[in-house]
């Protein structure tokens, strides 16, 4: 399971990085989102993915680590803010330069 999870994180990273290196803004934002998924899963996996129950106190002993979860929770929300910012930035670039190239080069 651990190997599969690691490979999945790696695949998401690869896809994200490839899109990040594209020349147009929209794929870059999509790539950023994919990398965001990968990073969140990676951070989450630092608390291990073995069989455990959610960290809601009750009868159990074997709780999942709540700390990475708390960190990832805020990371998800901040990641959304970042995606939104990058997206609006690209919209602004489109409005000002009439191009969606990452370097603001004209289409012609």
């Amino acid at each position: 399971m651990e190997l599969m999870f690691a490979l999945l994180i790696g695949l998401l990273t690869s896809c994200g990085v490839f899109l990040l290196l594209r020349a147009r803004t929209f794929p870059v934002v999509v790539g950023l989102t994919l990398i965001g998924y990968a990073v969140n899963l990676f951070l989450f996996s630092m608390g291990r993915i073995d069989e455990a129950v959610p960290a809601v106190l009750g009868e159990h002993i074997d709780y999942a680590d709540p700390l990475p979860q708390a960190l990832v929770l805020t990371a998800i929300v901040i990641g959304f803010a970042m995606t939104a910012f990058a997206l609006v930035l690209s919209l602004r670039a489109q409005g000002e330069l009439d191009s969606d190239h990452v370097d603001g080069k004209g289409d012609r």
Binding site: F18, L21, R24, A38, N40, I49, D65, V77, F85, D103
Partner: protein, 930 residues
């Protein structure tokens, strides 16, 4: 205190001329003299102690760790230099009062001059080498200001820049040398450094230290091959040349040679480096000086040659030579400063400095002419003047040096040759200017004597030349002896300052120099013609070309790294991240750890495969943006499932709400952006990106795998144990967010609010071209007719809000909380915008999202600050159980108030972003569209 005062007084005093610049020239100059006069008095008070051979040191400890202290030192050598700086400084101020023209800003000039004086005093009086470096750089900077004083002239600006570049670069080298010395000795205090001479000379890094220090010395004192800046610095007003370029700043280099003499000298390397640089400078300067037609140019090259002479003397490595060097420093300062002042007077009165036009001035200004002729004779080394004495000592010391074996005669020969040219150019100065027919086409005619007091400084200096030359024992002997003792750092050998030593070899050399010098001058016509035929090597052009090519090179290098291409930056960034983290990963003995892996179940496998395929599809169809977006949302849902599968319900709830918001946002933006991505990367580029992407993925996967298969040690136990007792909640994730790590969360919601405001600012005023239709050319629908969606969304709204309240309230004990509740509320409201339109929604829901987000952050911060009222640290939470009729027992915690802040911020920020973006797509309705 006294020593520090001597250094600081001119710095404080530099304000006075600025204040008095509009109150008459004489008052302004007198005010300027105030600080140096007081400094002079303070210095004289120390004279008895100094002449008794004491070394005064005053230290205020400052940064022990760096060895940097505010520490001053006064011994014979620094006394001599301080005396020259203050004394000649005073004369120069008096002189400049008459030299400066009416429209030259006098206050500024004197302020710069005092600034420089303070820096120069700091250099010679510092006990701490780092402190000295500070003043050293300050002299470079203030001399830049002084040389560039007439900033309207191109020559002045270029000359100032060149001087700054050369001496500044030397200063850097010197700093490195000083740091090395300090490291080796273990202290930057001069007392320690001078006592550690043997340690320094024996150290393996001695050559490096020596060369670095000498670079600083040679650039500052205009030694060959760094001498070229000095003639160009002659664009400065003449008082500056008299002060900086004869008596003080250029002497800072040779001062350092003298200062560090006990620590660094007395090795073969010292001899070869210092004496050869000195000899080359002596000869180059003396030869070139003869061929200058500019009066100040002649004096500048002569200064270079005399500085070379002093350097050569220090390089000879004998105590007597050091004595001669110190003596010549004194003599050169007096005759050269007076000559510069005389040249300034001539320039002032005739309007030109060209010696081919200034002739026969004796008739017009006999007084000045007499003074200048005496000073020039001293420069030539004519007997009964001070220059003769030190030159005699110089000649006899060159005869004492036998380092070069059978070639030792080269040194006295070079010295005599230098003497020959020195006589020739001095003779030219006298004959060409004051005799040699009539003036030719002078801008100001007829020239006459300058104002009375402009001559006073020259008279004083010339009188000193004479007095020292006639009666050295009565005048200079005591000062020279203490200064030389401080230089050599011990007892001095016997020496005599007598004028007459009998007929000996040095006297012969002087005689030869005098006779041949006169002959050379007599044969000047063919020599000048020969010099004219030489291809002129203009140092300024070479320097400017060098600087320009350096700037161009730096520009090209920057462009190579920084070509404004995001793709290239990212490539560099990812590449270096790969190298840095990959390097450590390779050092692991094995990637797989000891912990056994858990088995794979069917559902997990299926979800993983779906996610993998969706991720690949996102990339594969990235040119068709809508398809790519759909695939992306599949990946996002997979992430939600992964969180749910591995015991993180809070994360799953958050992720699914964020997922909805993100996809709506991306859809909205897609309305404005092109629907397709053109293919423009080359095959090679795509191959490189693919490789980079694969490597990154591999690295992250390896890292995750390596960590996950290793034993696990977490601080989670603390949170699990204290969550209920300390935070009053059973949902540990939420308790961490709002209680244990509440400060982090406060920071995070602040970032969220800031990002939302930033996005709002970007959207504000944005004009986007609305697309006329979809990719097939069909026009967009402008009215929403989606009956089902509209009605369903309106029914859903209260239900969704109810759920979000429920999620919010239970958050402390069960999965939920402010973040998730806020996102659910936001989604419910966004649905209204999507279904019913922006106008309809904002009519019925007139909420200012700025205020909402801000009030959220404020509530959270106020909750945290509230604990101060009860004497607890920021964000301490409290909780208790209350009994409410009908509802029953209920627990209320201050953490819930904090969570409310989080909730409001999330709702406010999310809607601030989406509602404003949505407004952009509002198509102005045209008549007839209905």
């Amino acid at each position: 205190m006294t020593l520090a005062l001597i250094v600081i007084l001119p710095l404080i005093g530099s304000l006075l001329p600025l204040l008095f610049s509009n109150h008459g020239r004489s008052l302004c100059a007198s005010m300027t003299m105030l600080a140096p006069v007081i400094g002079m008095v303070l210095l004289w008070q120390q004279a008895p102690a100094v002449f008794a051979g004491e070394t005064l040191v005053q230290t205020w400890r400052w940064l022990d760790l760096l060895g940097l202290h505010i520490s001053f030192r006064l011994d014979g050598l620094s006394f001599l230099f301080a005396l020259m700086i203050l004394g000649i400084g005073l004369l120069v101020i008096l002189y400049a009062r008459y030299y400066l023209a009416k429209n030259d800003p006098m206050g500024r000039f004197f302020a710069y001059l005092l600034l420089f004086m303070s820096a120069m005093l700091g250099v010679v009086l510092s006990e701490n080498l780092l402190l000295m470096m500070f003043f050293w750089e300050m002299t470079s900077l203030s001399s830049f200001l002084l040389i560039g004083y007439w900033s309207h002239s191109t020559d002045a600006r270029k000359g100032a820049r060149m001087a700054l570049a050369v001496t500044g670069a030397g200063g850097l080298a010197l700093l490195a040398g000083v740091l090395l010395i300090g490291q080796v000795v273990g202290s930057y205090q001069l007392t320690d450094v001078l006592a550690a001479g043997d340690l320094l000379r024996g150290h393996a890094l001695y050559p490096v230290m020596l060369i670095l220090v000498l670079l600083g010395v040679f650039t500052k004192s205009a030694q060959f091959p760094f001498h070229f800046w000095l003639p160009h610095a002659m664009a400065a007003p003449t008082p500056v040349s008299a002060y900086l370029h004869s008596a003080t700043m250029v002497k800072a280099g040779v001062f350092l040679l003298a200062r560090l003499y006990p620590a660094l000298a007395d090795t073969d390397l010292w001899f070869y480096l210092v004496s050869s640089a000195g000899m080359a400078t002596l000869l180059v300067g003396a030869c070139t000086a003869l061929f200058q037609h500019d009066l100040k140019g002649l004096l500048a090259y002569s200064t270079i040659s005399h500085l070379g002479l002093i350097t050569l003397l220090f390089g000879l490595n004998t105590p007597l030579a050091a004595v001669a060097a110190v003596f010549h420093i004194i003599n050169h300062a007096t005759f050269k400063a007076s000559l510069f002042m005389a040249a300034g007077i001539i320039d002032h009165e005739t309007g030109t400095r060209d010696m081919r036009r200034i002739n026969g001035l004796l008739r017009f200004m006999p007084h000045t002419a007499t003074l200048a002729m005496v000073a020039a004779s001293a420069m030539a080394g004519v007997p009964l003047l001070n220059g003769f004495l030190s030159k005699e000592m110089f000649f006899s010391e060159t005869l004492e040096q036998h380092m070069l074996g059978s070639f030792s005669w080269l040194i006295p020969l070079g010295a005599t040759l230098g003497g020959v040219f020195s006589v020739a150019y001095s003779l030219r100065f006298i004959h060409d200017v004051f005799f040699n027919g009539k003036p030719v086409n002078l801008p100001k005619y007829p020239p006459h004597e300058p104002p009375r007091y402009m001559k006073v400084p020259v008279e004083i200096l010339v009188a000193m030349c004479l007095m020292v030359g006639l009666a050295p024992g009565l005048t200079v002997a005591g000062l020279l002896s203490v200064a030389a003792q401080a230089t050599v750092g011990g007892a001095l050998p016997e020496y005599s300052l007598a004028i007459w030593h009998g007929f000996n070899l040095p006297l012969m050399m002087s005689f030869v120099a005098l006779v041949v010098g006169v002959l050379v001058y007599a044969a000047r016509a063919p020599l000048f013609a020969w010099y004219e035929r030489q291809r002129e090597l203009d140092a300024k052009l070479v320097f400017e070309r060098m600087i320009q090519s350096m700037v161009r090179g730096a520009g090209q290098f920057t462009l190579m790294l920084e070509n404004a291409s995001l793709q290239r930056y990212l490539t560099f960034l990812l590449g270096s991240a790969l190298v840095v983290s990959g390097y450590w990963l390779f050092k692991l003995p094995s990637l797989r750890g000891d912990v056994a892996m858990s088995p794979i179940d069917g559902t997990s496998l299926a979800v993983t495969l779906i996610m993998a395929v969706a991720a690949l599809a996102t990339v594969f169809w990235h040119r068709q943006r809508l398809v790519s977006l759909t695939m992306l949302s599949v990946v996002g849902l997979g992430v939600v499932l992964a969180f749910a599968r591995f015991a993180a319900p809070d994360l799953a709830l958050t992720q699914i709400s964020v997922e909805v918001v993100t996809i709506v946002l991306l859809m909205l933006s897609l309305f404005f952006l092109p629907a397709r991505t053109p293919r423009e990367s080359s095959l090679l580029r795509r191959g490189r990106d693919l490789l980079l992407a694969l490597m990154s993925g591999l690295l992250v996967a390896a890292l995750a795998f390596a960590v996950m298969t290793r034993p696990y040690d977490s601080i989670a136990g603390f949170f699990l144990e204290n969550s209920l007792s300390g935070g009053g909640g059973t949902n540990v994730v939420n308790v961490i967010l709002v209680d244990f790590r509440g400060f982090d969360t406060l920071g995070e919601i602040t970032v969220l609010a800031v990002a939302a405001i930033g996005i709002y600012a970007l959207i504000d005023g944005l004009r986007l071209r609305l697309p006329g239709g979809d990719s097939l050319g069909k026009p967009w629908a402008t009215r929403s007719e989606q009956l089902m969606l509209v009605n369903l969304s309106r029914v859903l709204l209260p239900l969704a809000l109810l759920i979000s309240v429920f999620i919010f309230l239970r958050g402390h004990n069960l999965p939920g909380g402010g973040f998730i509740a806020g996102l659910i509320t936001a989604v419910a409201l966004i649905l209204q915008y999507v279904a019913s339109g922006e106008e309809w929604t904002s009519e019925r829901w007139p909420v200012n999202y700025h205020y909402l987000a801000a009030s959220g952050v404020l509530i959270a911060a106020a909750t945290g600050a509230g604990s101060w009222l009860f004497g607890y640290p920021f964000l301490t939470s409290a909780f208790d159980h209350f009994y409410i009729p009908l509802v029953g027992d209920i627990e209320l915690a201050t953490a819930m108030l904090f969570d409310l802040g989080v909730y409001l911020t999330v709702v406010g920020a999310t809607l601030l972003i989406l509602a404003n973006l949505g407004k952009l797509s509002k198509v102005p309705l045209r008549r007839g569209d209905f």
